[in-house]
């Protein structure tokens, strides 16, 4: 494609009042070596007239467009010109709204940004999507409980083929074991019959859904769109190609055997799961003598919100106990149900059910720390509690005690096993073999063929749930194309699980559709570019394969990497990792960013600092600061990067050799509560830059000139000061000694 350039400067939203547009136009043409006549301006570029100006040029053949106006984070629909290379230069937020208007600094900043933008399109090429062949749009659902069945129906009703794998002989999971359900409809008074059986019927009669019962996933190979799943069923194995996976493998109740201190083991102490079975059979009785239970005590948070057991809240146990209290009351109006809670937590509409149940004279509630269960003689029990509102130390007689037991995700056992294996591996082969021999292997769920392990990886603070910590994208796991629904993701009730399943089905559909068009799925769900390494120069160092957070890169027997491109999230971590700088995207490459930062004009007097800003959190934070009219230091030029993981060390040399005085990396928080959209980009950048600082020291360049700042989007108000502090430190250190060389 022969490039025909067009540069458009908007004067609206206060830009004209802060910047001399004529001067900027001339400067752009000069600095970036484009003919002056292609630089145009308009009072309101996003207006129909302004857009027409651009569109008429496109008709005339203009195909490479630079728009100097507002932030690329706004007006993206207006400034969308398919078939062109379009770059947005942010002179509204980063100049007009955050610099002293009509100063030489503001003018220079705008000129720098415009030049950077022109260089970028000069270096870029028009991307074309990479669509793989033989793609499948079938969706695999693992788990046939309420989440899995709902997800299957959602996907099937949207017209997709679904393969549903259930390990039990019957569909339904826990939801099929319930006697009744918490009321689903206003006024939330009457218990509902389980909804699951109608779902099972619907699934079994749906022609789009193929059901495998008593089946497990033996292996999951490949990449989204091309996932080959081996299903073992009745001793035979079958491989099916699917496009994406919904993991709805559910939960297990916490092991009540560990709750001896709450009396588990005594005949009249049962779990909430056993209570459902009992209610289903008929009467609420004391197992010890079969007599009707008249005083039933419910112990909430039995092993939950307890550092020694499950540290988290399982969200639905309070509503479950209230429901079971209703079993007690409905089956015998003389019986009482006593609920001992830490806090009653009934999220959503179950709060109304709680209020209704509280109104029942025979449902007695008290906040209390239950310390134990003791014998009261005659097989009766005493619930012993402290810090109750009823008294500092109390004893209440009960003839049946129900422990409201928490949720353990099905992913926890495999995660713990695999983490243990990793630990053993670190100690050597002997320890590893000993571990394999002595540790029983739990049921695996997906058996992924991934270099990073066969299951969804564990996450500190996620307690074994299939969580990604992608706080804004709840169904995402850290494996592209695999989405978690229901209690495997977080504890939730039946209604929530159905909503969750619908959300997950949408994500799974989005995945297969994007893959079919060669578009990234998450979080860059518009991106058709992809990493395209120049493999002739590859030294087989394996850094890219090791660092890719999504296992998208494997190496062949010679150690040469190859991409499973549909696993790729286009963060550019491989591009940042590669010491040979051979990984490029059509609109993002080491050379491109290097050229952009080299194009920043370095003044003879005063400092010039470059900030590489992660475009997921840091860059929006800059925009927010500007929207709030916070001043950004005029010495700093902000260049967005896909992820700090994509920052290549050569950019440091590029910047400092040009005489730049300091380099800031603005990235996401990392560690346990990371907020990186690509899991560990900023962490990797930090690691790489700790190495570069040694080099800087050798060059007699103070290592403090290069710093990484972790910032969350909500820190926008603190960001200008963080930047000012950095600039002040550079001022103390003095100018870059290489300046002017």
């Amino acid at each position: 494609m022969e490039k025909k350039y067009g540069v458009y400067i908007c004067k609206g939203c206060g830009i004209e009042k802060a910047i001399d547009i004529e001067k900027l136009s001339k400067n752009a043409a000069k600095g970036a070596k484009v003919p002056e006549e292609i630089v145009k301006n308009h009072a309101v570029l996003c207006s129909p007239e302004g857009l027409e100006l651009i569109k008429s040029d496109i008709k005339e053949g203009t195909n490479t467009i630079v728009i100097a106006a507002c932030s690329p984070r706004v007006k993206y629909e207006e400034f969308d010109f398919p078939g062109t290379i379009t770059e947005r230069v942010n002179i509204r937020e980063l100049v007009a709204w955050s610099q002293q208007p009509n100063t030489e600094e503001a003018q220079m900043t705008a000129a720098d940004y415009l030049r950077i933008g022109i260089i970028k399109v000069q270096k870029g090429t028009l991307p074309e999507p990479n669509v793989l062949e033989d793609l499948s749009k079938t969706i695999l659902v693992v788990g046939g409980g309420i989440s899995g069945l709902s997800a299957s129906l959602e996907a099937a009703n949207a017209g997709y083929q679904v393969v549903l794998v259930e390990k039990e002989a019957e569909l339904g999971g826990w939801a099929a074991k319930l006697y009744k359900e918490v009321p689903r409809q206003y006024p939330y008074e009457k218990l509902d019959d389980p909804i699951i059986f109608s779902k099972i019927k619907e699934v079994e009669s749906n022609l789009n859904i193929k059901v495998f019962k008593s089946a497990v996933v033996e292996k999951t190979e490949g990449q989204p769109g091309l996932l080959d799943v081996t299903i073992r069923n009745n001793g035979t194995s079958e491989t099916i190609r699917v496009g994406s996976v919904i993991m709805a493998s559910g939960w297990k109740p916490y092991d009540a055997a560990k709750l001896g201190y709450l009396g588990y083991g005594k005949p009249n102490v049962i779990t909430s799961v056993q209570m459902e079975e009992m209610a289903k059979k008929g009467k609420i009785i004391r197992p010890s003598d079969g007599k009707e239970a008249k005083k039933v005590a419910f112990i909430q948070c039995a092993g939950s919100r307890d550092q020694n057991h499950l540290p988290y809240c399982s969200s639905f146990c309070c509503a479950t106990s209230l429901k079971q209290a209703k079993y007690v009351r409905e089956k015998n109006s003389d019986a009482i149900a006593m609920i001992f809670y830490k806090d009653i937590r009934t999220p959503g509409q179950s709060e109304i059910f709680y209020k209704n149940m509280q109104n029942d004279p025979g449902v007695l509630l008290t906040k209390a720390d239950v310390t134990g269960i003791s014998d009261a003689g005659n097989s009766s029990l005493f619930v012993e509690a402290e810090n109750a509102l009823l008294g500092e130390k109390i004893k209440v007689e009960a003839d049946l005690v129900v422990l409201a037991i928490g949720v353990v995700p099905s992913t926890r056992a495999p995660q713990e096993y695999l983490d243990g294996l990793t630990e053993a591996q670190k100690k050597g082969d002997v320890a590893k073999n000993a571990y394999l021999e002595t540790t029983p292997k739990p049921e695996f769920i997906l058996n992924l063929d991934y270099r990073q392990g066969p299951e969804i990886p564990s996450l500190e603070g996620a307690y074994g749930f299939a969580d990604s910590n992608f706080i804004c994208f709840q169904y995402e796991t850290r494996r592209t194309g695999i989405y978690a629904a229901g209690c495997v993701r977080q504890p939730m009730n039946i209604s929530e699980a159905q909503l969750d399943a619908a959300g997950t089905a949408m994500k799974a559909i989005q995945c297969v559709e994007h893959v079919a068009k060669g578009i990234a799925v998450h979080p860059r769900a518009w991106d058709i570019t992809f990493p395209d390494p120049l493999l002739i120069k590859c030294t087989a160092c394996k850094r890219c394969t090791e660092e890719c957070p999504f296992g998208a890169i494997d190496e062949d027997e010679k150690g040469i990497p190859f991409y499973k491109i549909n696993r790729c999230r286009r963060c550019g971590t491989c591009m940042g990792a590669c010491p040979e700088r051979i990984v490029s995207f059509k609109d993002y490459s080491v050379d491109m960013i290097g050229s952009m930062l080299k194009s920043v004009e370095v003044p003879d007097e005063g400092l010039r600092i470059i900030a590489l800003a992660c475009e997921n959190d840091a860059y929006p934070a800059l925009d927010s600061a500007a929207i709030n009219r916070k001043q950004l230091h005029p010495s700093v030029r902000f260049i967005p990067v896909r992820c700090l993981g994509s920052t290549n060390l050569v950019w440091v040399a590029d910047a400092f050799s040009r005489g730049i005085d300091g380099l800031i990396l603005l990235g996401c928080k990392y560690g346990e509560n990371y907020q990186c959209h690509f899991v560990k980009g900023s962490e990797l950048a930090n690691y790489r830059f700790s190495k570069v600082q040694e080099t800087l020291d050798k060059l007699q360049l103070e290592s403090e000139r290069c710093q990484l700042i972790q910032i969350a989007i909500s820190d926008y108000d603190k960001l200008p000061d963080m930047i000012n502090d950095f600039v002040n430190r550079i001022e103390e250190i003095g100018p870059n000694p290489f300046k002017g060389l």
Partner: protein, 388 residues
């Protein structure tokens, strides 16, 4: 720290609910009530703990609890309760159950608290007077002689000395005995529960009575501010009427007693009623009646005005208010009809008046009338136990 054994009682929970505490179970123990209450002590404040105890049916902790009477049902708690649990109403219900618990015979206690038995209870005093009239043939009012000077004289319908006084003395004696038994049991229970040796009872009694006379606690109410005025009017009108009654007894029996002692009766001892309107005793009586009328109408008006915030109250409350109202209304009308000399209206109204007054006296220990005795007792107990 002693371990308490909690014994929930579902029947008691249902009793509280059916006695006017139907909102009881709504309470979710946020303690807003105890925070907004101006009359509770700071230590172990009410009504939060009473709400919880009632929700769990802990009868023993409630019935013998002095705190239920320290509450003056300002209804600040009810107005501010975020869940509509109306602690003020619930405490009212608990007080009713406590009164019933301490008064005997039990069947009367039960009947006084249940609308089903109202007619039966009311029939007793009515029948007493009608029976007398039937026997003496005075049901036909034409047989009741009029005084040539004074006109209608009620003692000619029913003689004061030979019928009314014995009946009322018996009723009063019954009430006093029932009250005494109840109060002794209540005091003993409170002492046992509090585990205190007991302080200065005389000092506490003086302090409590001054507080009652000044209505100091009532004045701390916010939502139902006007209640202290209406209660003062009703309270002091009862005091006035008590003085009037005593005075009348002196007028009636003074001359007889003096003659019996061989003395010449004083001139101002007027003897048989009715007395002239200008007599100081009559002035006090009429003024008290007017105050009672104003007071009880204000009570009713305030109740209705505050019902959205404070609740409308239970049958138990309204029975008491209603009886006082009719005592007042029939009393005033009897006098008016008598002065207007309309025998056909005056006599039935008077019979009704006697019946209402007897109702009030005889059932006092079982009705809300008993609050004056129990509240005073609880206040004295609390003061001597140092619970302010």
């Amino acid at each position: 720290m002693t371990e308490q054994i909690i014994k929930p009682d579902l029947n008691f929970i249902n009793d509280v609910i059916s006695s006017g505490g139907e909102s009881l179970k709504k309470c979710f123990q946020c303690a807003t009530c105890s925070v907004v209450c101006n009359v509770t002590p700071d230590d172990k404040p009410f009504p939060r703990k009473e709400m919880l105890h009632a929700q769990w049916g802990l009868k023993d902790k409630l019935l013998s609890n002095p705190d239920i009477w320290l509450c003056h049902q300002c209804s600040d708690c009810t107005a501010y309760c975020p869940r509509g649990a109306k602690p003020g109403e619930v405490l009212g219900a608990i007080r009713k159950l406590s009164l019933q618990h301490y008064s005997s015979p039990k069947f009367l206690a039960k009947m006084a608290g249940d609308i089903k038995y109202f007619l039966l209870l009311f029939a007793a005093p009515v029948l007493i007077f009608l029976t007398y009239l039937g026997i003496t043939g005075k049901l036909d009012f034409a047989n009741v002689p009029k005084d040539p000077v004074k006109g209608i004289v009620f003692s000619k319908l029913i003689p004061t000395t030979f019928f009314i006084d014995p009946v009322f003395i018996a009723a009063a004696a019954f009430a006093v005995i029932v009250f005494a038994r109840g109060i002794i049991r209540y005091w003993n229970d409170m002492s046992r529960n509090a585990g205190t040796k007991g302080g200065n009872i005389i000092g506490a009694a003086i302090s409590a009575i001054t507080e009652i006379l000044a209505h100091r606690r009532f004045n701390k109410c916010e939502v139902t501010k006007g209640r202290s005025i209406s209660h003062i009017l009703v309270f002091y009108s009862f005091v006035g009427l008590a003085i009037t009654t005593t005075w009348a007894l002196i007028y009636l029996y003074g001359p007889i007693a003096m003659k019996f002692l061989g003395m010449e009766p004083f001139k101002w001892l007027l003897g048989e009623s009715p007395y002239p309107l200008t007599d100081p005793m009559k002035i006090l009586g009429n003024a008290s009646a007017a105050a009672l009328a104003l007071g009880i109408l204000l009570v009713i008006f305030n109740r209705i005005k505050n019902s959205a915030k404070a609740g409308i109250g239970s049958y138990y409350d309204w029975l008491f208010i209603g009886i006082v109202f009719f005592v007042m209304a029939t009393g005033i009308l009897s006098e008016v009809f008598r002065l207007m000399d309309i025998a056909g209206l005056a006599y039935p109204t008077y019979i009704a008046h006697l019946s209402f007054v007897l109702f009030l006296f005889a059932y006092a220990p079982f009705s809300k009338m008993a609050h004056m005795v129990y509240r005073a007792t609880a206040m004295i107990f609390a003061k001597q136990a140092g619970r302010e």
